[in-house]
């Protein structure tokens, strides 16, 4: 399929704090929207499409539009966990290309840290209306982390992938985080033990949270948020910064299946579709922003998007190619990722933000002459119901 350049990311903002007591999720959204529109050189009332997951304030797309003071002609409330913003970018680009809107605003805000939400280790809440899957899962005490642990255990069993290989993902991500002042502040404010570069041995020596996942393979729980402005090519040409084109996207879901292969994510479906949509291949990618909720999530994204064959991700990452200053593969999570920079619960928007910074030449771990990037989100729980969506971006 021929590549199209109908819609572009023209404005971005990442809320700088990861510990933000006394600030609400809505305030983080509004502050980020204001800064992202300023970054684009657009005005508040230029926004005619509002994208929102509605997951933190129970007011949905209508409420956020009222709160912001916007009268959009298009609202999209797609909410599929951490990858909601890749789904929404795909939808926004498609709707803009069809002429239904010209300036789309995506916002995210969360106070997970200040709320003391134990996202990874809390287990069932027992709240809300009962659902079939709650009734069939909650009694056994699966924590979110152990759900991902089951995928890692199966990956190690099925392909012989080692803990050292998984640790390479954490090592490369921390290498980038230490070059990002906001990530360093995040780790400091969240009282990480050792705000420094790490080795694979450090990862293996960190305590086990849910075997076989160690602490340094797990993302942080922070406050934070951000905003993305996506505009039509006509608007994009008059913005302050060079446009970063959305050239491809795709979506897929996967569930616990009788006899299914838990090591293959929904990215096995949406990855090839997204690259076909963009008319490019994984080997052309300069940057890979992959949702690093846990090391295993990144391993699955690398394989399922086709950077290497299924099951060969361990060998692929152990070549040391994931650092921004190495060749042979894409630079991984150059902002420091959810592991070491920012994870308030739904990290998908930050994948778009850092991919955009790279393609503008604005990253703290800048890949020389970066032209192409893929931001791939994974939402829900990898070992159970989840969604995976890659957004493929190109420099102007």
């Amino acid at each position: 399929m021929a590549q199209t350049r109908e819609a572009a990311i023209v404005g971005i903002h990442e809320y700088p704090l990861r510990v933000a007591p006394g600030v609400s999720a809505l305030q983080i959204k509004a502050a980020s929207a204001s800064k992202a529109l300023e970054d684009a050189g657009l005005s508040w009332q230029d926004v005619d499409a509002v994208y929102d997951t509605g997951s933190h304030q129970n007011i949905g797309g209508l409420g956020i539009s009222e709160y912001l003071g916007l009268n959009p002609r298009l609202i999209d409330n797609t909410s599929v966990g951490g990858t909601s913003y890749e789904f929404q970018a795909h939808h926004a680009a498609t709707m803009i290309a069809s002429g239904k809107a010209s300036v789309a605003l995506l916002t995210y805000g969360s106070t997970s840290h200040s709320d003391r939400r134990a996202i990874g280790t809390a287990g069932a809440t027992g709240q809300g209306s009962p659902t079939p899957f709650n009734n069939m899962e909650d009694p056994w005490g699966m924590t979110l982390i152990s759900g991902y642990g089951m995928v890692k255990a199966r990956h190690m069993h099925q392909y012989g992938t080692t803990n050292e290989q998984f640790a390479e993902i954490s090592v490369a991500t921390r290498y980038h985080a230490m070059r990002n002042p906001e990530a360093v502040k995040a780790m400091t404010d969240l009282e990480f033990v050792g705000v420094n570069e790490i080795t694979t041995q450090d990862v293996l020596d960190s305590r086990m949270i849910a075997w076989p996942l160690h602490l340094l393979e797990c993302c942080m729980v922070s406050d934070g948020g951000g905003a993305v402005v996506i505009a039509s090519k006509e608007v994009a040409r008059n913005c302050k910064k060079p446009p970063v084109w959305i050239i491809g996207g795709a979506e897929a879901t996967k569930y616990r299946e009788n006899g299914g292969d838990i090591t293959v994510s929904a990215g096995g479906q949406s990855g090839p579709r997204a690259f076909e949509d963009a008319g490019v291949s994984p080997s052309e990618m300069d940057v890979l922003m992959a949702y690093d909720s846990f090391s295993i999530t990144v391993m699955c994204m690398i394989e399922d998007l086709g950077f290497c064959k299924k099951g060969e991700g361990g060998d692929y990452v152990s070549q040391g190619i994931l650092k921004f200053d190495q060749t042979g593969g894409p630079a991984l999570n150059t902002d420091g990722g959810g592991l070491s920079s920012n994870h308030p619960g739904e990290r998908g928007i930050f994948l778009l933000l850092e991919a955009t910074r790279q393609l503008r030449g604005e990253s703290n771990s800048q890949v020389d002459n970066a032209k192409l990037a893929v931001a791939v989100g994974n939402g829900g729980q990898l070992g159970a119901r989840h969604a995976t969506s890659p957004t493929i971006l190109a420099a102007d």
């Binding site: 009962p130 069939m136 899962e137 924590t143 069993h157 949270i209 849910a210 075997w211 009788n258 006899g259």
Partner: protein, 140 residues
């Protein structure tokens, strides 16, 4: 000890499954459409998730299968689990063809004593007189 999270009702899809556990029966559904490509339905639903057929039949499993994968929880903040010590959460593939989430119990060291692919059989953890029982699995 705090009680584990219990299934909650009314929830019409899963209620027959949990009613059967009171008699220590592990039940699952099959779809009545002979042309369906995966007739085993799990978790319970009023329709077949493969073909959409609304006619389904309840069956009783022998309660035997293999460990598909597992993880050992070392840190849980949930009151029912936080003082339990390391415990194994697993997917077990039952011989009848359905995969269910469960715990693997009655092992000394869950990290080393459980193996992916090992045979297991159902064991019931009672939750009180006349109450549901939780199906868990132990080495066969």
């Amino acid at each position: 000890m705090t009680l584990r999270p219990q299934p909650r009702f009314p929830e019409p899809d899963t209620e027959p499954f949990w009613e059967a556990t009171k008699k220590k029966d592990l039940v699952y559904q099959t779809c009545d459409n002979a042309d369906c490509t995966d007739r085993v339905i799990f978790y319970p639903r009023a329709h077949c998730d493969t073909c959409g057929t609304l006619e389904t039949t309840w069956n009783t499993s022998k309660g035997e299968g293999v460990v598909y994968t597992y993880s050992v929880v070392m840190q849980s903040r949930h009151p029912a689990f936080k003082d339990l010590g390391p415990y194994a959460v697993a997917y077990v593939d039952l011989d009848e063809g359905f995969r269910m989430m469960t715990n693997i119990v009655n092992v000394d060291n869950p990290i080393t004593d459980i193996k992916i692919g090992m045979r297991v059989k159902v064991v019931w953890q009672e939750q009180g007189d006349g109450e549901i029982a939780l199906p868990m699995f132990e080495p066969a």
